[in-house]
């Protein structure tokens, strides 16, 4: 699975995700990527793209959960994303991670497994590329 989240110079947020799914998945299986609110979400508060055990992200509506925590519980993006990935995803016996950016341009990339291929940049600062914690 691959994905991107962005905040543009006008402060607008967007998310996109694309995947082949899981090796040897049943033909016809639909994962979290195309389920809005599960593997992909964007509103005025946050944009989220997920990767990992799709069925867990669907059952937990986890991309939307991050937005809900921020809007309804007043959590920061860092706290909301950490709770969703490190607690809720694990409680659903899932592994994986998310990338997210909020209306202030803050970026988080938490994951609860060995590694996540990821990269990020703010304005023209040098880009960051990482795989492990």
């Amino acid at each position: 699975t691959v994905g991107a989240v962005a905040r543009d110079a006008q402060g607008r947020l967007a998310a996109a995700t694309s995947t082949g799914g899981r090796t040897a998945k049943m033909a016809g299986r639909i994962g979290d990527t195309p389920v809005i609110g599960a593997g992909t979400w964007a509103d005025e508060t946050v944009a989220v793209s997920a990767t990992g055990h799709g069925e867990s992200f669907v059952r937990g509506a986890l991309a939307h959960e991050i937005s809900a925590r921020m809007r309804l519980a007043g959590q920061s993006l860092a706290d909301a994303a950490e709770a969703v990935v490190m607690q809720e995803l694990g409680a659903l016996a899932g592994t994986g991670g998310i990338i997210a950016v909020d209306r202030n341009g803050t970026i988080v990339t938490p994951f609860n497994c060995e590694g996540m291929y990821r990269a990020w940049a703010v304005d023209d600062a040098p880009p960051q590329v990482a795989i492990y914690h």
Binding site: A15, A42, A119
Partner: protein
């Protein structure tokens, strides 16, 4: 006002011992390239939605990653691709699932958002819609990578030997 962008190329059990240095270098280069495709849109004052589409297209074209050209195979031995795009400012969303020939599924998702009253289109009808939108389609060979095919054979053998399909190793599952 400033802009920000982040991308991912998948998560899972990525054992340092299993990734060869040259493979890791290819992956890091692919991530850096995709990030710059999206950042160039933002730097030019473009919309976040166009930036995330540009970045994801670059990742779909890179056989290192489980999407588009580097996609994993299902249990019947073919790819079934899915993608989504969502605009935070309007909450417009488009998603596709079950595609087998569309080169860039994220573009099909964007066309669903742009041209239909729906959020999700799937399978043969979605493929015909993408073709009608003029999006490039490829034959099955375009999506074939030996690495993913080997992972499928390994996983099918494991399941046939009584392994639980839901317990595949992360690396095999997600490529």
């Amino acid at each position: 006002m400033s802009f920000s962008i982040a991308i991912h190329g998948g998560a899972g059990t990525i054992l340092r011992s299993e990734i060869q240095p040259e493979e890791e270098a290819r992956i890091r280069a692919g991530l850096a390239h995709a990030l710059e495709q999206g950042r160039a849109v933002l730097r030019a004052g473009g919309a976040a939605l166009d930036a995330v589409q540009a970045a994801v297209m670059a990742l779909e074209d890179d056989p290192c990653f489980n999407a588009g050209r580097g996609a994993v195979f299902n249990d019947a031995g073919f790819v079934e691709l899915e993608a989504a795009a969502m605009d935070g400012a309007t909450r417009a969303a488009g998603t596709v699932t079950g595609l087998r020939r569309v080169r860039n599924p994220v573009c099909a998702a964007r066309e669903v958002m742009r041209r239909t009253p729906h959020v999700t289109l799937g399978f043969e009808a979605a493929e015909r819609f993408a073709e009608a939108c003029g999006l490039p389609l490829e034959d099955a060979a375009y999506f074939h990578t030996d690495k993913r095919w080997a992972a499928l054979q390994q996983e099918l053998a494991r399941i046939a030997a009584g392994g639980d399909a839901s317990q595949a190793s992360e690396q095999v599952k997600h490529g």
